[in-house]
Structures are given as C-alpha cells and as structure tokens.
Assembly symmetry: C2
Homo-oligomer: 412 residues x 2
Amino acid sequence: MTDNPKPLVSPLAPANFPDIPSIAGVRFASAHSGTKYNNRDDVMLAELAPGTTIAGVFTRSATRAAPVLDCQEKIGGPSDGGAAFFVNAGNANAFTGAHGDGSVAAITNATAQTLGISASRVFSSSTGVIGEPLAHDAIIAKLSELKTTLSADAITPAAHAILTTDTFAKGASATFDGDGGKITIAGFAKGSGMIAPDMATMLVYIFTDAKVARPLLQDMVATATDTTFNCITVDSDTSTSDTLLVAATGQSTAAEITATDTKFRAALHDIMLDLAHQVIRDGEGATKFVEIRVTGAESDTDARKVAMSVANSPLVKTAIAGEDPNWGRIVMAVGKSGAAADRDRLAISFGDILVAEKGWVAPDYTEQQGVAYMKNQDITINIDMGLGACTTVAWTCDLTHGYIQINADYRS
Amino acid sequence: MTDNPKPLVSPLAPANFPDIPSIAGVRFASAHSGTKYNNRDDVMLAELAPGTTIAGVFTRSATRAAPVLDCQEKIGGPSDGGAAFFVNAGNANAFTGAHGDGSVAAITNATAQTLGISASRVFSSSTGVIGEPLAHDAIIAKLSELKTTLSADAITPAAHAILTTDTFAKGASATFDGDGGKITIAGFAKGSGMIAPDMATMLVYIFTDAKVARPLLQDMVATATDTTFNCITVDSDTSTSDTLLVAATGQSTAAEITATDTKFRAALHDIMLDLAHQVIRDGEGATKFVEIRVTGAESDTDARKVAMSVANSPLVKTAIAGEDPNWGRIVMAVGKSGAAADRDRLAISFGDILVAEKGWVAPDYTEQQGVAYMKNQDITINIDMGLGACTTVAWTCDLTHGYIQINADYRS
C-alpha cells in the first residue's frame, strides 16, 4: 500500500470545501477498502431514488477502462427503479483484459443485490493505476457497511473518497427558483494529472432534484461539456477513465425542465465550469491558473487549435512557471497550431496589457509591465487572430518542478 | 548580454566532435559579434563555390521567422555564381515585423557585396530569442573579418558558432566511392529545445562535393527529412526558425548523381539521421535517448500518430526520467492518439521484453525486468497495434527537472 505522494495542498486551492445542500432522492456513503490508501476512505456509493434520470459523457480514448465501457453500454437504458453510482480510488481497472470486465460485473452485480435494484442501473468508475488487477472482493466486502451508513448529508466525505493525486476535494452547488419550487444542483469531481479531457474529465458526479427527461438531460450535459471540461488541460494526456455522470431525481416540486429553460441549463453549465476550474487549480504541480482567450479566428476549429496549442505548450507553461512574460513562445505556439494565422494581424495581451501587434512588440509595451503581470496567481492570455469572428476560451496551469516530481516518482 | 544557462554537457553527448573532412568548394569562418554571448563565436559564414546547387526544407509554422521567409523565396532560384550561408546565434529575428525583414535584407546584401556574389544566393538563418530586434549592424561589421579568415578546414568552429542552448556541437560526415571518384558529405546541426520539427529541425547545414542537379537534391532532401528530422521531438514545440540547407558543390571527380543512385541517397539519409539523433541526445534536460517503434498500424498516418503521441506524452516522458516501467502510461498515450486501436490486439515491449499483450500485462513479465531495463541510457519502446502492416519509428528524450530549470529561467 502506498500513500499519496503529494503532501501539500495546491497553492491555488479554495479555502474550504463548499457547504453543499442535500439533494432529495440521493444518499451517499464512503468507506476504507484497504486496497490502496492508508487511513482514508477509497470507495464511494451514491444511491439514487426510483425515477432518477441519468446522463453521462465519457472519454473517447481507444484504450478506455473496463468500467467506462460498462457505463457506456448502460447509459441509454430505461430509467426503471432505483440506481447507483459506485467509485473506487487507487486502481483504474484499465488495460486489465477479461479480468477487468469480470471485476466490473462483480462490483455492479453485488451493488445491485445489496440495494435491491437492477445491475443495469449501477454505474461504476475506477481511478488510479493502469494495468493492475482490481481486488474487487475487498471492495465488495464493504457494500453492507456502505448500505447501512447511507445518508443524504454525506456528500462531503463522498467527494473526498474518490480522490487520488488530488490535493483537495472539488465541489460546487446552486439553488434557484424553478417553475413551482426550488431546484438544487450539486456536484463533485476529482482530477489533477492525466487531464486533457476528450468528452469529459476524470470523474465528475452531479446530482439534482429537478425533473428532466433523459434525452434532454443528455443533450444539456453534452453541450455544456464542450465549453467546460473539454476546454481544460493540465498536461495534454487524456485519461482512460474520464467519466461525467449527472443524475436528476425529479423530487423537486418544480415543474419538469424544458429544452428552453435557460435557468437550469445555465446553472448546470456554471457548476460544470466551476468543477473544471477546480481540477485545473489542482493540476499536478500547478502554481498559476491560466485562462487563454482566443478571438478573431477564422473558424471555431481554428480558435480551439490555437487555444489548446498554447495551453499544452511546455515552453509557454514553463515560462509562466518562471513568471517570465515570454510572449515569443506564445507566437511560436500559435504558429505551430495548424490554424490559419497571419503574423502581421496577430495581437497578444496579458490581461489588459497589449504586448504584441502588427507582427512585433507593441510600441508602448515594456518588459517591466509583463514581469509585474506574471507575478499574479491568475493569468489571462488574450490572443486576437485578426482574421474572423470565432472565439474560444481554454484553461490550463503552469508546468513546474512539482509536475516532474509527482510523475517521475509516482506510479499512476 | 547573457551566458548560456545550461552549464553541463548532456549525459547523452558523444565523447568528441567528429573529425570532419573538408569539402572541395566550401570554406567556413566564424566570429564573435558581441550581440548576445560572451566569450564565444556567434556568427558563421559558409562560402560556396560557383556551380553549387542548393536544396532546403523549412518550418511550416504560421509565424515563421523573417530569414526563413527569405530563404523560402530564394531556394528555387538558378544556381548562378557563388553562394553563401550566414547564421547568427542568440536572436531568432522572429516576430520582429518590418524591422526583421530589413535586418535580413541588410545582412544578405552586405554578405553578397563582401563576397562579390548575388544577394539572391545568400541564405541566412537566425536562432535564439523571439521578438527582439536584431542588431544587424554589429553583425555586418564582422563580415570583412569573416571573409579574411575563410578556410576549408574551419567546419568545427563553424559548427560551434551556431549553438544556443545546445550543450555540444553536432556533426557527421561520410566518404564513399562515386562513379569515377570519391564523394564526401559533411554536415552540422544545432537544436536542443523547441524541437518538434515540421519539415526540418532547428538549423542544419550539409555540404557535399557531389554533382547533383537542384531538383533531384531537393527531392532527396525532402524524402529523407520525413524519416529523420520529422520523426524527432524534444518537447512538441515547433520552432519558428527550423531550417535545413544542403549544398552540393559538384567539385568531386565522380559522375553526376542520378535519381537511382542509392549510395548517395543512403549516405545523405544516414547523415541526416545521425544529426537528428544528436539533437535528441542534446534535448533540454535529457538523460535518456528513447526510440519508439510502431508496427502493425492500419495506416502510415496512424503509425505516426501513435509514435508521436507516445513521444510527446509528458506522463510517458516523466516515467522514463524516473526509470519507472510504467507501461500503463504508454497504453494511455496510444489510446489518446486518435489512431485506430484495439485494446485486445495491442502488444508493448521494452527492448526484447514483452510487457503487455491481449489487453493486459504479459503472463511472463515481471516488474523487476522492467525496472532493470529502464536503467539503460538508451530505451526502445516497441508498440505493435496488431491491426495492419504500417510501421514508423520516432525518437525522443525524457522530461526532467533539467527541462523545467532551463525553460522557467532562460528567455529563449
């Protein structure tokens, strides 16, 4: 058994885990299975009341983990009876062949039996080391303890039980007036390294008491993913386990959500963005939170190419770590992105400070301005391509000795 | 003025700069312009005899440096009269607007005048910081000194004068029997960071006394680039200055090279590969030289996607730095590559050691074998996709604290 090698809390962490209200129809429990970590819970169960609709998005990796493949098979199924989410931390059950598929079946069947629900409604996730067999017997042995401790108020320990190299638990919630009653949405996430989501990020669980039909919920989740979790990157490495699950219990007195309900859609988006930002703020070794705003691109695809090329450039990220306003590296990353670019129309700003335009350094820019700006913990890089009207935003962190330390020593 | 911040020689460096024979029709000179580095030459001139044919490949970056744009305009021109290559190190003259274009014109015109040749036959390169004006007057002031010291035997100091963050000069040569006389090819290169060439690498100059028509030389250079410089990556960041120039003086007594001459083609390829490998061995912070062999891919494009995804993965590269046989990260990088992949047909070996196959760890593989293998300085990762007959090879280095140190401190 190993302990988490990252002893410190990220300097970008929020002060506290937020106060998160309970969601009618959802109960949580967590426990210590002893399969990986000492002295902390490493399995989490969320029980969902009958009538809950479930939507999800998953990694597009060609080497997806066994539980992801299982979730993808189940996600479109009917919303009959109760449901559950089950998570273990420390072992990803990825690239574990037929044994891995067997572990997923064993865990989801045992969870179904314990809760008296159908196994087709149990969605499991595993996160941690790739390629090692999952000790599912030790995990299943915890199910009766988990069942007896289920509580509507246990979302905070649940959010902690799913962590691996994370230095803090990530949570967010919102309560607002629906049509005929209050609606609450609450969620939590884990993720710190191997973060360059492609459909969703590491593990994210969101719960609401709103009434939402499954196809509409799926559509809203997929749309919001494109501008939240799919716009973040810690290290350009896409996980084999990325999973985002959203459960709507329908127990609010508010009327059913419709496709034109902007309030619910916006609240869901904001919680997803908040959790995505928290994942970046816990990026392995991160000391800076970086927003990259691209405007004036010829196409949406080009805007994204530029944003992600800058966000994933080791030379840009090390310059930010060194508080060096090295805008030449941003020019380099724009140039290599594959997007249409015209050197003489490109403009780059740090926050409100115009740095470069018309193919060269801006006439009023001074190195001192750049150096002072780079001392901020939150950095905004604006890139105007000067070619069209398409825009995007991406978020990343810097690349530091901390990242090397964590990943040259820890087997993840 | 700053000194090179990388004090040590790469642990992967060859013992010595090779003995390189002179090439009939080529003379070299180098000097200290005082524009950037203390106590070392930082400008280089190669004078090429009348009749020399010149071929070249250049970065495809959309933010190419001014001298690259100038070279691209000139490269297809007629081989009339003498020619020259001119290089300054310390300033890339990239993203310097109209001033940058003016610097290129000033340097190439002054070189032409000094040597009594046409400016359309002077190919210049600049390497170093992006976005700072080039002090071309101080550089031009060195031209008469350079002219008077031109020597056929000065290739070694020339190879040293073009370095920036390099820790060693990179050279290679070959002499073989042509049809009617000996042929010699000799070349040198620079490059250490911002290495993910797209058409060519940083700066590479190759000289031969062979007689080769320009279109054939261009074709042979472009073909060999695809399997040499375009298959290496230090950090996935493509330079704004990548330039490879090859000059054939035609002064050997051997008959003119034809398209079917495999000896010359092979020798040129081998020198390019040798120089490309030396660039990786001088990768910023590198402690391991890594060869990635992909077989069984469905297409050439897929083979390259997989090789470059593994070669550029920060998690794979940090694992190698930590001598951790973390093959799960290779599975991850294959999965995210976008290439067709089947988890259950994929096989991964470290050298001759079969690590994973059929969707899981190989039955005879032990962690001890992997740990022992990873202690080697040269690492080979074999990835068989099990889907088709397409193959490729790529080369990279590990990602270490040294890379962070160099790039969080040094303005390049």
